[in-house]
């Protein structure tokens, strides 16, 4: 499977591989996941433009109005329009987990790849460290780090990346190990290709199925973590209109106006579900492709 070959068979193979890359979108769960993802993405990008009121403006309505009062989701204690705040607040819950995951997968994946490629003592040391960190419950680790580093979006990204990196690294290492024994990898090494070339052109493309699935799954976990931290008061800080924070603020008036809490809460839930379903469908397609 030399990626630079130009024989018809090699080209056909590459086209087939590309098609297989999107095959997950044709499964039942993949379609549902993709549909939800597109809907949420539209909401997050276009939403802020459609907000009927400025999201941070105080007193656009009577404080603590229920949805019947002309405001779709009612208003909060300060009389801010909750629907506008909801439309405005979805950006962070998409971007922060994505950034944290990219960072965590880059660092962990690098270590895992290099470990799998070179093997030996360094590899088993890396694997040991991964296992040691994974043994610590992720939420506990997150909370302890946040207790020390304080709260801001950049620390949050950093902390989640630390929690994700060893888990990502373990999966990448495992996937790379099973690819690295193939003849085409051995051949590339014997040809004298550079480490980078072998890792990026031979090993990574052929290990991409499990890695893509686990990336999508860890996006779900990161979304859960980020929104949970905001809900606990350790993530987004007022006056942000982040969905997790909206849920936390709405919790106090749940008995008066449940919609103000439920709508952002379910939006977070739907986003998390989308990535899990996509992870599931990639997983299934990869397994079928091997069978």
């Amino acid at each position: 499977m030399n990626a630079t070959a130009t024989t018809p068979a090699a080209i056909a193979e590459r086209v087939a591989r590309k098609r297989r890359g999107l095959a997950w979108a044709r499964t039942f769960e993949g379609r549902i996941g993709l549909a939800i993802l597109i809907a949420v993405a539209l909401l997050v990008t276009i939403g802020p433009l459609l907000a009927p009121y400025p999201p941070d403006e105080i007193g656009v309505g009577v404080p603590l109005a229920t949805p019947e009062g002309g405001h779709l989701l009612g208003t909060d204690q300060l009389g801010r329009d909750l629907f506008s705040r909801y439309l405005d607040g979805g950006t962070t819950i998409v971007l922060v987990p994505l950034a944290a995951n990219l960072l965590g997968f880059f660092v962990g994946g690098m270590l895992g790849l290099l470990g799998a490629y070179y093997g030996g003592r360094a590899d088993s040391f890396i694997a040991r460290v991964f296992d040691l960190v994974i043994a610590i419950p992720s939420l506990l680790l997150t909370l302890v780090l946040i207790a020390g580093l304080g709260t801001s979006w950049s620390t949050l990204i950093f902390v989640i990346a630390i929690v994700t990196a060893p888990r990502a690294g373990r999966v990448v290492r495992g996937a790379a190990q099973s690819v690295a024994v193939n003849d085409y990898v051995v051949a590339a090494r014997l040809r004298g290709e550079s480490v980078w070339w072998v890792l990026c052109r031979e090993i990574l493309p052929n290990a991409s199925g499990p890695i893509a699935a686990i990336f999508s799954l860890y996006l779900t976990y990161a979304i859960i973590t980020v929104s949970t931290l905001s809900f606990l008061g350790l993530g987004a800080q007022p006056p942000s209109s982040d969905w997790g924070l909206l849920v936390a603020e709405g919790r106090d008036v749940l008995t008066i106006n449940p919609w103000a809490t439920l709508v952002p809460a379910f939006s977070i839930g739907l986003l998390a579900i989308a990535f899990t379903l996509i992870a599931d469908s990639i997983d299934r397609r990869t397994a079928e492709g091997e069978a």
Binding site: F28, E29, I32, L132, V133, A135, I136, P137, S138, L139, L140, L141, L143, V144, L145, I146, A147, G148, L149, T220, I223, I224, S227, T228, F231, L232, G233, L234, V247, R251, L254, T255, P258, T261, L262, A265, F266, I268, G269, A272, I273, F275, T276, L277, D280
Partner: protein
């Protein structure tokens, strides 16, 4: 099968103990580093509030030995902690241990109650799905469970609260009755938090059970049992399910450990006075001593359960005995 000597057994037990202690040590380093990473003055200022004089700060730093080098502070902290001296909270001015212990019991009881409900439900659901593999009801249930498992704890908790406490009014909105309510109030206070945990762990165990049982259902020994004319019930339970016991047991263990983390969030959703609520509140109040003690306690319990389930799995699977892990 080869008989395994007492020596090998003792060695593998020691190996488990060693890796558990190593993990616990790493947790203690992280907890200490995490809570002491900032300069001494910051720590003192956070503990005492904003309106303090320079001399008050200095006294606090002297009293708590915050001017010593970090490794020295770590050593004396760990020494005290291991001996049961968990220190006094600078925020409440009270010793930390009496505040943690009753909360810990409530949290463990909550997790245990949830596990007792969740395990039979999820195993039965998994077996049901395995028997109708690839049929429409199996695929639909599978996708539905995948969706549920992706929900954050607070979303499930708040949804349950809205339905059962706000709309129907059957159950209390929060669990604050645990600290002062009557006995029946106390029991009711467990229902919604436990139900939230149940909903969150059922998908995982059910899907693992489904995968494991559908594999053993197709195994030659199960098919042979059916062909021999054994009752389907016996073929299912004694051949398929029994041989799927280890992955199921593993899933249960993973989820029990997950629940000990999950209680942190669930307790905060319901105002449940457990150790997780204490941990989050203490982080918000910058109560370093309490954060350390609560985090160490949760960490130690997770490691303990991890170790004992590893041991259990070995006990139930003769194949694993004496194998290097």
């Amino acid at each position: 099968m080869k008989q395994i000597g007492a020596k090998t057994k003792a060695r593998s037990a020691l190996r488990y103990l060693g890796s558990a202690l190593l993990t616990l040590w790493v947790i203690s380093v992280l907890v200490f580093a995490g809570t002491n990473i900032r300069p001494a003055e910051d720590v003192a200022r956070q503990a005492l509030g904003r309106t303090v004089t320079e001399s008050q700060l200095q006294t606090f730093i002297d009293e708590n030995g915050l001017d010593r080098p970090l490794p020295q502070r770590y050593a004396s902290w760990l020494g005290d902690f291991v001996q049961g001296d968990w220190g006094e909270s600078a925020v409440t001015g009270r010793p930390v241990r009496p505040a943690i212990v009753p909360r810990l019991w409530r949290s463990l009881l909550l997790a245990l109650a949830a596990a007792l409900v969740a395990v039979p439900i999820s195993v039965l659901l998994g077996i049901f799905m395995a028997r109708r593999r690839q049929r429409r009801s199996d695929v639909a249930t599978n996708v539905f469970l995948a969706g549920i498992s992706a929900l954050p704890e607070f979303v499930v908790g708040l949804a349950l609260t809205t339905v059962f406490a706000v709309s129907l009014g059957w159950l209390p909105v929060d669990s604050t009755a645990l600290t002062f309510g009557s006995a029946s109030d106390k029991v009711l206070a467990y229902v919604l938090p436990a139900a939230t945990l149940v909903i969150l762990v059922v998908p995982y165990i059910a899907r693992v059970t489904r995968a494991a049982v559908s594999e053993t259902l197709q195994a030659s020994y199960t098919r042979a049992a059916v062909l021999r004319g054994l009752q389907p019930r016996i073929a299912l339970w004694d051949f398929a399910v029994r041989n799927a016991a280890v992955p199921i047991l593993n899933a249960v263990a993973i989820n029990f450990i997950y629940m000990l983390g999950g209680v942190i969030v669930v307790e905060n959703v319901f105002g449940f006075p457990g150790i997780g609520q204490l941990l989050v509140q203490s982080i918000g109040r910058a109560d370093v001593i309490t954060v350390q003690a609560a985090a160490m306690t949760i960490g130690a319990i997770v490691i303990l359960i991890n170790m004992s389930t590893d041991g259990l799995a070995v006990y139930f699977t003769p194949k694993l005995r004496g194998r290097k892990t």
